[in-house]
Symmetry: C2
Subunit: 165 residues, 2 copies
Amino acid sequence: MTLEQAKQQFIQTWGNFGTQWGINRSMAQVHALLLVSDQSKCTEDIMTELSISRGNANMNLRELMNWNLIYKETVPGDRKEYFRAEKDMWEVAKRITKERKRREIEPLQQHLTELKKVEQSYDSIAFVATIENIERLVNRLDGLSNTLMKADEHIFFGKILNLLK
Amino acid sequence: MTLEQAKQQFIQTWGNFGTQWGINRSMAQVHALLLVSDQSKCTEDIMTELSISRGNANMNLRELMNWNLIYKETVPGDRKEYFRAEKDMWEVAKRITKERKRREIEPLQQHLTELKKVEQSYDSIAFVATIENIERLVNRLDGLSNTLMKADEHIFFGKILNLLK
DNA sequence: CAATATTTTCAATAATAATTGAAAGTTGTG
DNA sequence: CACAACTTTCAATTATTATTGAAAATATTG
């Protein structure tokens, strides 16, 4: 397998896994392309190399910036914007965690809190108990994300993986 | 908010979060419905209560069984199959973890191992290093899932959440 | 500030994924 | 074993999501 083939393969694979996680294929592929590229790339490069449209490239680059997974770079004497990916995968994990906490865990916590305001009755007891079980789990996932975001990789995994030894 | 409204709200909310995670809305809703229902329910009940077709209900019930999140139950004197959800949310978390490990982490590990077989060259060094960084993270997530699946909730979260105190 | 390069937007279109429902298959019953 | 009850399948349809590309907006240069 040549380097070029391997990179293509990786982009393909990353794209497929992305879709399984509710991330659109193009966004995952743009991310993958930048992860395995030494030089930063401009929109034009990305359009060409992934055979996607300008609009698509632009939109997903912007979204990757929102997730803090890529940076803009400027090249002296060139007007275009160039993009580079964060390569430290522990950083990547932390940033994804931070964003998912904000977009998913926190809204879910809000919804669950609301649901507990159901009017009390004999039948509502079991319902509230179920919601509270879900809430407990979600709160713990939240605690886990907070810990992960603060910890360094070594401490985080080191301690966890020793849990049951 | 009446109990009925709260249950409907929960089903709605669970469905929406599901779609964000690459789980189809109906499957998440069927799961939600069974989570908040005291009695086990047959296909007909589910079709009616969620206003979905027989095929849809059947397919998603089967998929929830594959994930080990619901059980079949039989009612004496009734031919129909009834379904009940696992209500222990720590169990639910463990089972989802187990399944995601099998469906996502393990195949990804395989792919990454393959990619390292790229032919060596000056340029491939950086590529392999990036793949190895990704691999390290994925392996640790794998270790984390293994630990979670074996641990009980109290031990698992107790120790983690004390990490940085 | 006009000319040009570049980025952004967004309505239209295409691709993908979910859903339906009727037909085929299966299982249990008298 | 014929019938009825129930479950499963799957081609067709519908709904959702992603993508395109041209036009509008913005930024940069001389």
